[in-house]
Amino acid sequence: MSSSFGAQVLVRLRPSIYDPQGEAIRRSLASAGVEGIESVRQGKLIELEVRADSAEEAEARVREIAARVLANPVLEDHVVEVGPDSVAS
């Protein structure tokens, strides 16, 4: 019996890489009068629902596509999290 699993892939620029988007947000906040923000980095959160027989299988599949396509290893690091089954069928 397969179930639907929720998965999240957090994709972030590698720490060594300058992030022009994050820097633009920091400058905007500063010019809007928000004080004390020393640094901003922007990444992306990709949420997936995966049909699989087990959480382990769901996680393995998400890890594969995260490494293969959702993140570009030249620029980005990524973290995968798979939650408990949400919908059984």
Partner: protein, 233 residues
């Protein structure tokens, strides 16, 4: 010399295919055909030029999803066999994402979509885009991109430089490298690279938009001459 037959892969979102088709046929005097991305064979073609645009919408990252298109398999085989495979703009990003060229394109440092003429300096002449050029020669070409900020980690960048794989750098008209001449923040001012073997190459500027005065410039002519010269050698 017999004319070569060029494939021009077209993905959903590609938008420079007619420019490249016309440039290859009318300007370079070669045979060329558009090839839809679902095609599984490139039999009968000697070479391929991946045109600019927004393949698959660039929604995840520029060029990232194109690698799943069926045409990429025969294209990779063509590259593997030593035949000419080149990319322009989004075609560069597609070749990087497919692992056929090094590096990745980050958002432009300015965050703006840059659409203007730039100058590039020829770094080496062992690639399909530079075979008819002389080292140090500068050429004016238009760019139009939001993700052209070439990145490689330090060590890989050193290897790329040591292997002579940088074919073009953004420069001033006299060839000097200034920050003002670099439209997107690319590391080492890199505008174009080739693979180690030399048969796969790409650049961000558009030679396909600069081959007659009415288009605002003729800098692209020399690059199409190069494609022909390289494919004849």
């Amino acid at each position: 010399m017999a004319r070569r037959r060029f494939a021009i892969p077209v993905f959903p979102g590609t938008n420079c295919e007619e420019d490249v088709l016309h440039a290859l046929r009318a300007v370079a005097g070669q045979e060329a055909e558009l090839v839809w991305h679902q095609e599984r064979s490139l039999a009968g073609f000697d070479a391929a030029v991946i045109p600019g645009g927004f393949a698959h919408g660039d929604y995840l990252r520029a060029g990232a999803l194109a690698r799943f298109s069926p045409v990429m398999e025969p294209l990779a085989a063509m590259a593997e066999s030593g035949r000419l495979v080149v990319g322009i703009c989004n075609g560069f990003q597609i070749l990087q994402e497919a692992g056929l060229l090094p590096g990745a394109m980050q958002r432009n440092r300015s965050l703006a979509y840059v659409c203007r003429d730039v100058w590039v300096r020829t770094e080496e002449t062992g690639s399909p885009f530079t075979a008819a050029l002389t080292p140090g020669e500068t050429i004016r070409l238009p760019v139009g991109h939001a993700e052209g900020n070439f990145h490689l980690p330090d060590r890989d960048l050193e290897r790329l430089e040591a292997a002579g794989q940088v074919i073009f750098r953004y420069s001033e008209p006299d060839g000097s490298l200034t920050e003002a001449a670099n439209p997107n923040g690319s590391r080492h001012h890199i505008a174009g690279v080739r693979n180690r073997r030399g048969n796969v190459a790409a650049l961000m500027p558009h030679p396909d938009r600069a081959w007659e005065p009415a288009l605002g410039g003729t800098g692209g002519l020399r690059l199409f001459e190069s494609l022909v010269r390289w494919s004849e050698s």
